[in-house]
């Protein structure tokens, strides 16, 4: 059933989230808050070297320390064969994953795990880890992406040959993969252009910087069964990966979804869980591992840093006739950067006849990258949206008009294949053009910038159950960890379908043994896919309730209609009966056939793509290069906002992460390839005083593939900010900043250079 144009009572309102009180009173249990009787503390020893061969690991001193109960090294884990599969957030090579969790023959980045200890206290575990004596044969390392692509670069993987080039290479390379997307005839396109603009841009790897460090508690029983408490974006992902890496049956692994303290893509991989399980297996006791913030920065994945080359060709009237891009993405120590989506997203916003995008997936001695909000898109769009601004200037055109003129619309065929359908980009741009921020006069000394962003959004596998309790209240369970308020939106959709008040519905997150498989909370898929499952489960329940009413009234189920939380006879010829509400039917459930509930699993397709436009005003202290964000407006097509507050929250949060990416966040390495800023002091995320209020403007172009018209909203907001701010800085200073972050030293240097 489709509710898009129906008159909605619950969806679109702003009820309090059901898990709210737990979270404002400190009761919510995150995995670091879990305890088990006789629990040991695990500590991981990490490589101080960026690139080295492990010659020998001597654990004898550590083992002799009183309180130490177990020690593991790479040798304690199965050597996983080179096999690629799509589990989680992208193609996953399980040998790489296994060797990222704990190194075998080589360490590939500073912070790479080499061994782990379980002891009776965290202090003892820490002391013991320091006593593990690892002999390294230090190898030359490479950090920078273009240096890693050079012929003479130190090779990370002797068995890695570039895929996607012809003829097949004969010598190993740090370039894992070359991809190319083409549309039309690029040379003809540029030949036909009146104006051509070319730019080269660089972005820094940035960490998701969720405030909760990774933590888990694992208990292995003698019979091979394992229980894990973990904070992650998918407890089924943890089960799948742990089973794979430890060669276990999934049925022997039960993962309980603790509350998750932020992920943004960074908790779609595993790091510590298999280690905790092995330590528990060896010690026979529950083992808890909790990363320090420093470990999070040194050992877990940021998104790629990259080099982005953009070339645009346009007619005098602003019609873009040719666009090409070269993308060089850091993958970290193992292949798998988001260069694929990066190559697809940059030009997906525009209707351009001739496109050529070339992308490189490049390994270097950095932590393996992990997903981060719209993986790849912010990087590619920083280049494209900056170049568009300069192209507009060259054309003497308003940057928004240039985007309007070339905006993708329904029927636009993208360079990577699909044809856009049911998209709302033109509507977003129309709202931007009329928005008081865009139309207001610019304050003296301020600069204004605009930039746009795109994300596919995804669907996939989700399961939800709806239980009608004996008193007519409703319990909903899903397999999707609630990272930003999805308990509320799930409950709201179910309440809407059942026609009851939302506070009659409570949503829980079920563990891996208690509900059907559910894919990660990521890619902005939960409200879409899990929401679809919850909606269908509620509809099944309604169908069943109608049957029960029909039984009571002795009429045909087709003669029963469900409205406002009760069964009514459909029309007068169905008979004259008092309506039976949910509570009454629940009370009689036993006599009408037993408990009323439904579980629905879906593999949702047709996630509607999302588009956004951000407008930003900045002022620049030209003596210090310090940029102040004076005003910020984010406009986005959200399909349908189930709980508008949490939709706005996604947009405000994503925009603010983008502000950090634009201005101050970066990885600083010394010449030994060691990270110099592995903490919140010098990895500078925006603080409350760095940002203004972020106005989130919700445009609702329903996605017909979802019962309520939902499209994902969490990814798009991080795509436009970097270019929007760069364009605003250009407005304020006439200086184009092509390199991120646009930090004070860089901006002051650029100002001096410009004279």
């Amino acid at each position: 059933m489709n509710y898009i144009d129906s008159n909605l009572k619950v969806v679109g309102t702003r009820p309090l989230r059901p898990d709210g009180v737990d979270k404002v009173t400190g009761r919510a249990m995150y995995s670091a808050d879990t305890r088990a009787a006789g629990m040991l503390w695990g500590k991981i020893l990490r490589s101080p070297h960026a690139h080295a061969r492990i010659v020998k690991i001597d654990t004898s001193k550590a083992a002799a320390l009183p309180g130490v109960k177990a020690i593991v090294t790479g040798a304690d884990f199965p050597d996983i064969p080179n096999e690629e599969a799509f589990v989680g957030e992208g193609p996953m090579n399980f040998r790489d994953l296994a060797r990222n969790v704990i190194a075998r023959d080589k360490v590939l980045y500073e912070g790479h795990a080499v061994a782990a200890v379980a002891a009776t206290s965290s202090a003892i575990a820490e002391e013991a880890a320091a006593l593990i004596d690892v002999t390294y044969d230090i190898l030359p390392h490479v950090i920078d992406v273009e240096a890693a692509m050079a012929d003479n670069a130190p090779i990370l993987h002797e068995d890695m040959f570039t895929v996607g080039v012809d003829p097949k290479p004969t010598k190993p390379s740090n370039i894992a993969k070359v991809i190319r997307f083409k549309k039309g005839d690029i040379d003809a396109g540029f030949a036909a252009a009146d104006v051509v603009f070319e730019g080269r841009y660089t972005t820094q790897p940035v960490h998701q910087a969720y405030i909760e460090p990774h933590a888990c508690l694992a208990t292995a029983n003698a019979d091979g069964q394992v229980t894990i408490f973990a904070s992650s974006q998918g407890h089924f992902m943890i089960r799948a990966y742990v089973a794979k890496l430890l060669a276990m049956d999934m049925s022997n692994i039960r993962v309980n979804p603790a509350e998750i303290g932020g992920g943004f893509g960074g908790k779609t991989l595993i790091y510590i869980e298999p280690v905790a399980v092995r330590l528990s297996q060896k010690s026979g006791k529950p083992v808890k591992i909790q990363m320090t913030r420093e470990e999070v920065f040194r050992g877990t994945g940021p998104t790629s840093g990259a080099v982005v080359e953009v070339k645009l060709g346009a007619k005098k009237d602003g019609t873009i006739v040719a666009a090409s891009q070269v993308l060089k993405f850091q993958a970290g120590a193992f292949q798998g950067s988001p260069v694929g989506p990066g190559a697809m997203c940059g030009f997906a916003l525009y209707d351009i006849e001739n496109i050529d995008v070339l992308g490189y997936d490049v390994v270097s001695n950095r932590p393996k990258v992990a997903a981060y909000r719209a993986p790849g898109a912010p990087i590619t769009s920083f280049g494209v949206e900056s170049a568009l601004d300069d192209l507009a200037a060259k054309l003497g055109m308003c940057p928004l008009s240039l985007r309007v003129k070339n905006a993708a619309k329904n029927g636009t065929k993208t360079h990577y294949g699909p044809t856009h359908a049911n998209i709302g980009f033109e509507q977003v741009l129309a709202v931007a053009a009329k928005h008081p921020h865009w139309t207001s006069p610019l304050k003296a000394g301020h600069g204004r910038g605009i930039a746009c962003g795109f994300w596919f959004n995804i669907g996939g596998e989700s399961t939800a159950t709806v239980h009608i309790n004996e008193d007519g209240s409703v319990t909903v369970a899903t397999g999707s960890p609630d990272i930003g308020g999805s308990r509320a939106s799930m409950g709201m959709m179910v309440a809407e379908v059942l026609g009851i008040p939302v506070d009659k519905v409570r949503t829980t997150i079920a563990d891996t043994a208690s509900i059907g498989f559910t894919h990660l909370t990521g890619g902005s898929r939960v409200t879409f896919a899990t929401g679809m499952a919850a909606t269908q489960a509620a509809e099944r329940v309604v169908g069943e309730l109608k049957k029960r009413a029909a039984m009571i009234w002795e009429i045909s189920p087709d003669a029963v209609e469900w409205k406002d939380g009760a069964a009514y006879p459909a029309g007068t010829n169905a008979g004259q009966f008092e309506p039976l509400d949910l509570a009454t039917l629940a009370l009689r459930a036993a006599r009408t056939g037993g408990p009323v509930n439904a579980e629905v699993s879906v593999n949702a397709q047709g996630a509607g793509a999302g588009f956004g436009a951000h407008i930003c005003d900045v002022s620049v202290d030209k003596e210090t290069g310090h940029v102040t964000i004076e005003r910020y407006t984010a406009i986005q097509d959200v399909g349908k906002a189930i709980h508008p507050s949490y939709v706005e929250g996604q947009i405000q949060g994503g925009a603010t992460q983008g502000i950090g990416w634009a201005l101050n966040e970066e990885y600083i390495y010394n010449d030994k390839g060691q990270l110099e800023n592995p903490g919140f002091l010098d990895y500078r995320c925006p603080v409350a005083s760095d940002v203004p209020m972020i106005e989130a403007v919700l445009v609702e172009v329903p996605n017909p593939r979802h019962p309520f018209g939902v499209r994902g909203v969490g990814e798009v907001p991080i795509v436009p900010p970097m270019a929007a701010i760069a364009n605003a800085i250009k407005g304020a200073t006439s200086i184009r900043m092509p390199d991120l972050p646009m930090s004070p030293p860089r901006l002051r240097a650029a100002i001096d250079k410009a004279g």
Binding site: E84, A85, F86, G88, E89, G90, P91, V163, G164, D166, K168, K177, V178, I179, R180, F181, K182, Q208, G263, F264, G265, T268, P338, G340, P341, M344, L358, A371, Y372, R373, A374, P375, K413, Y416, G417, P418, T419, H420, A421, W455, F456, N457, I458, G459, G460, E461, G522, G523, S524, R525, N603, Q605, G606, G712, G714, E715, I718
Partner: protein
């Protein structure tokens, strides 16, 4: 007969001997995968595990059941994840 287009330069060209566009006799995506595997050993598996597919414009990540019409355009693209 549906036409299959490989996103050019994708790693799968190694398996198709450089071919980027060809017709395949298939009425469902499942059948298509089997045909591809038969024609270019390894390709079907890779399409299943590593690729999403755009059929006449719409992206499907896992789509055995999806029906293909004669003349359907099937574009194989990298699977899409997210944050």
């Amino acid at each position: 007969m549906p036409t299959v287009v490989l996103s050019s330069g994708s790693s799968m060209q190694a398996l198709t001997g450089g071919q980027t566009e060809f017709e395949v006799e298939a009425t469902t995506f499942r059948r298509l995968v089997l045909e591809l595997e038969q024609r270019f050993p390894g390709l079907g598996k890779q399409v299943e595990e590593g690729m999403a597919v755009a059929i006449d414009g719409e992206i499907f990540q896992d789509a055995y059941g999806v029906e293909l019409r004669p003349g359907s355009e099937i574009v194989l693209i990298p699977k899409i994840g997210g944050g």
